[in-house]
Amino acid sequence: MNEKILKSGDEVVKEFIKSLEKDASLDKAVVNAITSLYSQKKLTPTRLQKILDTKRK
């Protein structure tokens, strides 16, 4: 990877997730769940869905 010019895929995702926190139009529970799972390297559809299920009840 040409580090001077290109960001790694992980960096791109991390920066993007950080930018979500500033977007007031988004559901906070969804953003928090994504942030938490990605930081733990545990972001999968099943895990995300499970957290979102609890946030609706």
């Binding site: 040409n2 977007d23 969804v30 990605y38 545990k42 972001l43 559809p45």
Partner: protein, 807 residues
């Protein structure tokens, strides 16, 4: 950046005995020639295995560790690849060991620096083989995107996008969400019927309820849950026939609940058909079930690995020693391969969930019905039918939830079908009976008006509660779905910008390299670039006769596609390789015409002069071009040879060959044929040095001269030029050694003893000593003829032989 200093391969693929390639301490580039099937790719395989712990072209065919061992080596012989680098601390030997029925690998370098380097280098672009030249170019645009993401390390981006998309799909198809929308529609219709408008909040409900109450002048209004109940009680107290009134209200409620249960049973019937048919078809195929089982097994294994529950370096599946990182990668790759079948299964999962949800509804409404009929005339048969239906629905839910993940056969059993049909019929009959019973209950006009108001208030409250509850649920789902959709949309922009940035960087190089190989003047192709196509794809775009077009296959010939493949590889090397300063080009010019081969060499010289390049080729002409173009720039040029006896070996000097024979001898291997070859090489070197005259022969025929001819011509020259050594007994002894070598290598290897071999080697050494200087290690040469002394000497001048004339 790091270069290769030495490659040593042993007992690996085509290398039966140690194959050492010395690239010098500065890590020089090298071109290696070997005929087709001479085993050159053993070198590429070795480097790939060293870094990636796998060899793609073998692993794809399911040929794994056992295919790495040379087929001729003994059980006790070691399979290993050792690499030395310009960074000394990174040198390591990778050894393949057999343990039980499987193989394990071991690295001799255990340092953190080495591990860090390997983890970087395994993702770098270290080799390009003919077979893979156009593989990427010929992929579909979606596959190109995934492949490129892997090449440049953008898997995290692909994976994030996939998670968001999958979760959004899952929420959109969630049975609870679908049911909530359905209930909401029904409740909305009922509210319109009851209140002539949709009641959005409790205030609107209370306003409507108070309007219903208004004609009865209760002297109070509804403002909350409690006052709602109070007002209904007050209305009831206005009815003189209280018992009859209670019964009518109960019958109305029973009728409504019976109708709800009929509807729930019909819904469950519909969702059963939607699920059971495709699911049955899926599990009917044993092949598909096998793949689903495998996917599930791998997914569980992956979960275990991700949770860190596997013991270090131990395979959680079979217990053998493995590199867990590598295993995790392998498991993930296999799971991706099984993605299609998993998707097919998942589409039946949402149908299954819907059915389970509908059966659950039957249970909830059924239980509610049991409460509603208390104090009313209900037949024992209906009671039993409801009770049985709820029990069977419960059994079906359990059996389905248990059987579905195991791909077991699931069906509506006969008892359920019979009970359900009978229940629907009985419920319909009970609805009719309730209607009839209600008709028999007569009230005064005023009482009738009050009862209608109570029923309306009750219905209004029930439907409104249903509406509110499901409205919140639907709203909650939609907020999450909308958020995921926006995240996906925003991320697509970020992702495409990141991809395009990388593609632009690559495109500049790709275009330059390609146009170097195919200048735009004589071709009609120009302005090549990689660009994002739609949401899912990446494609090469190029200008053909001035018009932008894609894909490459549309107009480009095989040779042009090859050039594009090389241009892509070279651009990715420059972009991605940040640690390793070397790469291998394995036989990549096979379909190139000569003009383009020259251009490729010039391109490498100009654009990659700071890189260590290893070129392997089976084309003599191309090798000779490399020799002429790059020989003077410090490139090493070597040839490899492959014999059934010795496997792949670098063709080296007789000194290298002598070392090889000693190595073989130390392993108690037969070396008679090698003795003959060694003698042949030594005689060729001496004859060349003394300019011994031979009969003219063309090209490779010149190389094929045998010991007999070489020795005979050498003796003739020595007889003529130097009287003092012409009678040296070594010449006749060498003839005997040659006889030993020939006999031992052909028909009677068992007749040759170790002692014979040692004598033959001593004779060869003696012949060598006669012409080779022990100080400067060079042969006496006719080129160094000292006229005054009539002598020829070695380079340092210490060894000299009398020589009659320089002609």
């Amino acid at each position: 950046m790091i270069r290769l200093k030495k490659i040593k391969i042993s007992g690996f693929r085509g290398a039966r005995y140690p194959l050492a390639i010395d690239l010098t301490s500065s890590g020089k580039s090298i071109a290696i020639y070997g005929e087709n099937a001479a085993g050159k790719s053993t070198i590429t395989d070795a480097v790939e295995w060293f870094f990636k712990d796998r060899i793609d072209h073998l692993w794809r065919e399911d040929c794994k560790a056992d295919a790495l061992r040379n087929v001729d080596i003994d059980e006790k012989d070691v399979t290993s690849v050792s690499l030395e680098f310009t960074a000394k601390n990174l040198a390591s030997e990778k050894i393949l060991k057999k343990r039980g029925n499987s193989y394990i690998t071991e690295e001799t370098n255990k340092t953190a620096e080495f591990k860090t380097y390997i983890s970087h280098a395994k993702d770098e672009r270290l080799d390009l083989r003919t077979a893979y030249l156009t593989e990427f170019i010929k992929k579909r645009k979606g596959e190109k995107r995934i492949e490129l993401a892997n090449i440049i390390g953008y898997e995290a981006i692909e994976s994030f996008r996939k998670v968001i998309q999958s979760t959004q799909n899952a929420l959109e198809n969630d049975p609870t969400y679908i049911a909530a929308k359905k209930i909401l529609d029904t409740a909305q219709a009922k509210l319109l019927q009851l209140a002539s408008k949709v009641l959005r909040n409790q205030e609107e409900l209370y306003i409507t309820a108070n309007e219903i109450l208004k004609p009865f002048k209760l002297g109070k209004t509804i403002s909350d849950e409690d006052s709602y109940k109070d007002c209904i009680q007050d209305l009831k107290s206005k009815v003189a026939q209280r018992e009859k009134a209670e019964k009518k209200l109960k019958l109305e409620s029973l009728r409504s609940q019976c109708e709800s249960l009929i509807k729930a049973l019909q819904d469950a019937d519909g969702s059963a058909s939607s699920f059971l048919e495709p699911y049955g078809r899926l599990i009917e195929s044993k092949e598909k079930v096998k793949l689903l089982d495998l996917e599930q097994f791998l997914s569980k294994g992956k979960e275990l690995l991700n949770k860190g529950l596997a013991e270090p370096s131990k395979c959680p599946f079979c217990g053998s020693r493995v590199d867990l990182d590598h295993l995790r990668e392998e498991v993930e790759k296999r799971i991706i391969e099984l993605d299609t079948i998993k998707k097919e299964f998942q589409s039946t999962k949402s149908l299954k969930d819907q059915w389970i949800n509908d059966l659950g509804n039957v249970r909830v409404i059924g239980k509610e019905l049991e409460k509603k009929w208390v104090g009313l005339d209900i037949s024992k048969e209906l009671e039993t039918l409801v009770e049985d239906s709820l029990a069977i629905a419960n059994t079906l839910i359990k059996a389905t939830e248990e059987g579905f993940p195991r791909y077991e056969k699931i069906s509506e059993n006969k008892k359920w079908k019979e009970t359900k049909d009978k229940l629907v019929a009985d419920l319909e009959a009970r609805v009719k009976k309730a209607d009839d019973e209600i008709k028999t209950l007569t009230f005064t006009k005023e009482e009738q008006t009050i009862l209608e108001a109570i029923e309306k208030l009750n219905n209004l409250k029930t439907v409104f509660d249903d509406y509110q509850q499901n409205f919140k649920l639907r709203d909650s789902f939609e907020r999450q779905i909308k958020t995921l959709d926006k995240i996906k949309e925003d991320f697509t922009k970020v992702q495409n910008a990141a991809f395009q940035n990388m593609l632009d960087l690559m495109s500049t190089d790709i275009s330059r390299y390609y146009l170097y190989l195919h200048p735009p003047g004589d071709e009609k192709v120009d302005q090549i670039r990689l660009r994002i196509v739609g949401e899912e794809g990446i494609e090469f775009e190029y200008s053909f006769h001035g018009k932008p077009t894609y894909p490459p296959m549309k107009y480009l010939s095989e040779s042009h596609l090859n050039s594009l493949g090389i241009a892509l590889f070279l651009s990715s090397v420059k972009l991605i390789n940040t640690k390793s300063n070397f790469f291998i080009l394995d036989d990549i010019v096979t379909s190139f015409d000569h003009g383009h081969r020259f251009r490729l060499l010039r391109l490498l010289q100009e654009e990659f002069k700071d890189w260590q390049i290893i070129i392997l080729t089976h084309e003599r002409f191309w090798f000779e071009i490399i020799r002429r173009e790059l020989g003077a720039t410090g490139w090493i040029l070597k040839e490899v040879d492959c014999t059934p006896e010795n496997g792949i070996q670098i063709k080296g000097s007789w000194a290298d060959y002598r070392e090889f024979i000693m190595e073989k001898k130390s392993q108690d291997k037969l070396v008679a044929n090698d003795i003959r070859n060694l003698l042949e090489r030594l005689l060729k070197e001496i004859c060349q040095s003394l300019e011994v005259k031979m009969a003219f022969r063309y090209n490779e025929n010149n190389e094929e001269r045998m010991v007999g001819e070489l020795l005979s011509e050498l003796r003739r020259t020595v007889n003529e030029k130097n009287e003092s050594i012409k009678d040296n007994p070594i010449f006749s002894r060498i003839e005997t050694s040659n006889f030993l070598g020939t006999a031992g290598s052909h028909d009677r290897p068992q007749d040759i003893s170790k002692g014979d071999i040692e004598v033959a080697l001593e004779d060869i050494d003696a012949l060598e000593e006669l012409f080779l200087c022990s100080q400067c290690n060079t042969l006496v040469s006719k080129k160094r003829f000292v006229t005054a002394e009539k002598k020829i000497t070695c380079k340092c001048g210490k060894l000299g032989l009398d020589w009659k004339g320089a002609d």
